[in-house]
């Protein structure tokens, strides 16, 4: 079995079997990482370019390490210092990268749908590293990997996602994916950050954080995406932490075995208390390691598909 598309654009586009394939492949990658085997030949002779129109620490570096561990040549375009500042359009920039015989373009852009727009226009495989408020599929894959690793399954889970739902591509990707595994997603956050008709996504919209976490296996915090808020959607950090923050009291509502997750970067004391972030329940750091493994798996599987396409031609 192999992936169906040349690109990885969103969890909405992947079926359950493809997700399982990626997660199973990532398991092998993680084992290799843990035994210190960080030089494989899977991507030898291939090139990977990261094209990020938004700030990033972990996602960009995680992709870059994943590519390097598998032997790819890597390049990196940051918006500052590139021709994007000379007014070059996204399409022209992407096509230019494509014509350097690039195999993978890893793209983050503030416009929802931007990688979909580029994917059809380039030969390279486009991997969505976050598009606006739409999707962040590799973050979702590492979240699923972490849940499965810690809880043994992805089916029948109760997952609470707390915070700035409106601006969260992580929330959307997780909902699309967990729906496919028949797990229950509950969301809670300020109503001013809850998009209209959100229940139609399949998630259960809760009025308060404790209600959302009641009996949950996973409690996931989200970063407040202040840069996407055109106007203030909550009165103060203090008030946000008081009513929507994840703390011991909230965690007491969840299952005793419940794990705490957060996609990072994490605003200390806002979305969750610092003691929780570094508690035994927290798998936030494990998520980072799993991110490298999952991105290795995605690159590997897309490369397999590219090779078989090339062989067919």
């Amino acid at each position: 079995m192999q992936l169906k598309s040349k690109d990885l654009l969103g969890m909405q586009q992947l079926d359950k079997e493809e997700i399982e394939l990626i997660l199973n492949t990532a398991q092998g990658m993680k084992q290799a990482l843990l035994i210190g085997h960080k030089k494989t030949t899977h991507l030898q002779g291939k090139s990977v370019v990261t094209l990020f129109y938004e700030n990033s620490t972990r996602t960009r570096l995680s992709f870059e390490m994943a590519a390097k561990y598998m032997g790819a040549a890597t390049g990196n375009i940051a918006v500052s210092g590139s021709s994007i500042n000379k007014g070059e359009t996204l399409l022209d920039t992407a096509v230019t990268i494509d014509h350097m015989a690039t195999d993978f373009i890893i793209m983050r852009h503030p416009s929802s749908g931007a990688p979909f727009y580029i994917a059809d226009r380039v030969n390279a495989s486009v991997i969505n590293a976050g598009d606006g408020m739409d999707e962040h599929p590799t973050q979702c894959l590492l979240d699923l990997f972490t849940m499965k690793e810690q809880l043994g399954t992805l089916s029948g889970l109760k997952v609470a996602i707390i915070g700035d739902i409106a601006h969260s591509r992580v929330a959307r990707s997780n909902i699309w994916a967990l729906n496919k595994f028949n797990s229950e997603v509950r969301v809670a956050g300020p109503a001013s950050m809850m998009p209209v008709e959100f229940e139609k996504t399949g998630a259960i919209v809760c009025n308060d954080v404790k209600e959302a976490c009641e009996g949950c296996d996973v409690v996931m915090g989200l970063r407040l995406q202040l840069e996407r808020m055109h106007s203030a959607l909550f009165p103060s950090v203090n008030e946000y932490a008081r009513f929507y923050g994840i703390n011991d009291e909230v965690m007491a509502c969840a299952q005793p075995h419940a794990i705490v997750m957060h996609p990072g970067p994490y605003n200390h004391g806002m979305e969750m208390t610092s003691n929780l972030r570094y508690s035994d329940q927290s798998f936030i750091d494990e998520q980072v390691t799993n991110g490298v493994a999952c991105r290795m798996a995605v690159l590997y599987l897309l490369n397999v598909r590219r090779n078989s396409m090339a062989a067919d031609q």
Partner: protein, 422 residues
């Protein structure tokens, strides 16, 4: 120009359809006479209608000629059966003074295919702060005032514009949208939620419609509301009309044909302002057209260059070209399903807008300018955005099969478009 249109199915103001010959002499409709005729067209089996009038379009000239100009815009209008079009003032420079009005009038008279009637700005630079020179613009040829593209922002400015325009017998046309709520790229609903795109709620339109209706009622002055798209707006206008408020309004084909589903897949060709709404809004728009709440159909023809649509969704410009598809969309989506008779559709595309703008056209009455449109309502055709007479090709209807094809368009008795009609 003297001429005869032979044996067409003629639709007149009463809604009667009769097979007869139509005569015109010196560019105006005339009683039957014995030639000689400069124009002699056989319209047997075709529909003969008053030339369409568009109360709302954007010709982009001056300032944005890379999208459209008066020549290509009026050519596109002629292809769509429009004989008179009223263009919005959001050009560069803004049409807020007599010089720009005169430029548009002169260029369209010398180079245009159809009649162009400029609409002047309500406020200088469309800024909503100071009144534009409405009187001087009226002398130069405007037929209405509007800050279209944006609403007249404050109620105070709107009131001043309505009161001042009355002195010059002009109506204010308002683009109804509360700007503080309109921070988005498509209709707010499940589609915007699942796509992760900021939405514009229907309430943004409804709030501005309510404000304008309150002002029109308070001042007892006429107002025309542009491109109505929500069920809430239709409800309020219906009730206001019953109370005797002097309100008229228009909708556009896309508000009775398309829903926000057209945006799925981040389709920038489906971006328009006001945004495509939900099925319940489409139903209400059709009902509003049916019961007369919505007086007319305008195109909001809004040409954009490919570079302005070939971008990520939230960076795309709003709007569609509309002249060449308007009649066929009306025929296919309103007449064929039985919502409107053909005569009612024609009325909403000719006499109703002509009366709003007081241009003395949009009718087949003897003595009036010989503006008429001939269509074949048996013919189906596929919309091909690469075959448009407009300079732009930003249409969401590419590939759709529609019924009703414009065969010829005459302005003042002169044939300005003829699609194989001998």
């Amino acid at each position: 120009m003297n001429g005869i249109i032979r044996q067409g199915k003629v639709i007149d103001a009463t809604g009667e359809v009769t097979i007869k010959d139509i005569y015109f002499k010196d560019g105006c409709f005339a009683e039957p006479y014995e030639g000689p005729f400069d124009v002699d067209l056989d319209a047997a089996g075709k529909i003969v209608m008053p030339g369409f009038v568009d109360a709302h379009c954007h010709l982009r000239d001056p300032g944005f000629e890379y999208r459209e100009d008066i020549v290509t815009g009026t050519r596109s209008a002629a292809h769509g059966g429009f004989t008179s079009i009223a263009c919005m003032p959001n050009t560069k420079p803004v049409c807020d003074n007599a010089a720009v009005v005169s430029y548009i009038v002169k260029k369209s008279q010398t180079e245009g295919y159809v009649n162009v009637f400029p609409i002047g700005a309500v406020s200088k630079q469309l800024q909503g702060k100071e009144l534009a020179e409405i009187g001087l613009m009226k002398e130069a040829g405007i037929v209405a005032v509007s800050d279209d593209g944006a609403p007249v922002r404050t109620a105070d400015m709107m009131r001043k514009g309505m009161v001042y325009a009355r002195d010059f017998d002009l109506v204010v046309i308002n683009h109804c949208e509360d700007p503080s709520l309109a921070d988005g790229y498509m209709n707010e609903g499940y589609n915007s939620t699942q796509m992760g795109v900021l939405g514009v709620p229907s309430a943004a339109e409804d709030i501005m419609v309510a404000r304008d209706l309150i002002l029109a009622e308070y001042l007892d002055l006429p107002i025309h509301l542009a491109h109505i798209s929500t069920h809430g707006a239709v409800d309020m206008i219906r009730r206001a009309k019953k109370r005797g408020v002097k309100v008229t309004c228009e909708t556009c084909p896309h508000y009775f044909v398309l829903t926000d589903d057209a945006c799925l897949g981040f389709n920038t060709y489906a971006r328009v302002n006001p945004p495509l709404r939900r099925p319940e809004d489409v139903t209400a728009i059709i009902e509003g057209l049916r019961d007369g709440t919505i007086d007319m159909i305008a195109t909001d023809h809004a040409p954009h260059h490919e570079d302005e649509k070939d971008v990520p969704f939230d960076q795309a410009n709003n709007g569609f070209i509309g002249f060449e598809t308007a009649f066929a969309l009306g025929y296919t989506y309103l007449v064929q399903p039985g919502y409107l008779t053909l005569a009612e559709l024609v009325e909403k595309m000719s006499s109703a807008p002509a009366n709003l703008l007081k241009i003395g056209r949009g009718t087949l009455e003897v003595g009036r300018p010989a503006d008429l449109t001939i269509a074949d309502v048996e013919e189906t055709w596929e919309v091909d955005r690469f075959q448009m007479a407009s300079k732009s090709m930003n249409t969401p209807y590419h590939g759709m099969t529609l019924t009703g094809k414009i065969k010829a368009t005459l302005v003042d008795g002169k044939v300005v478009f003829n699609d194989e009609l001998c």
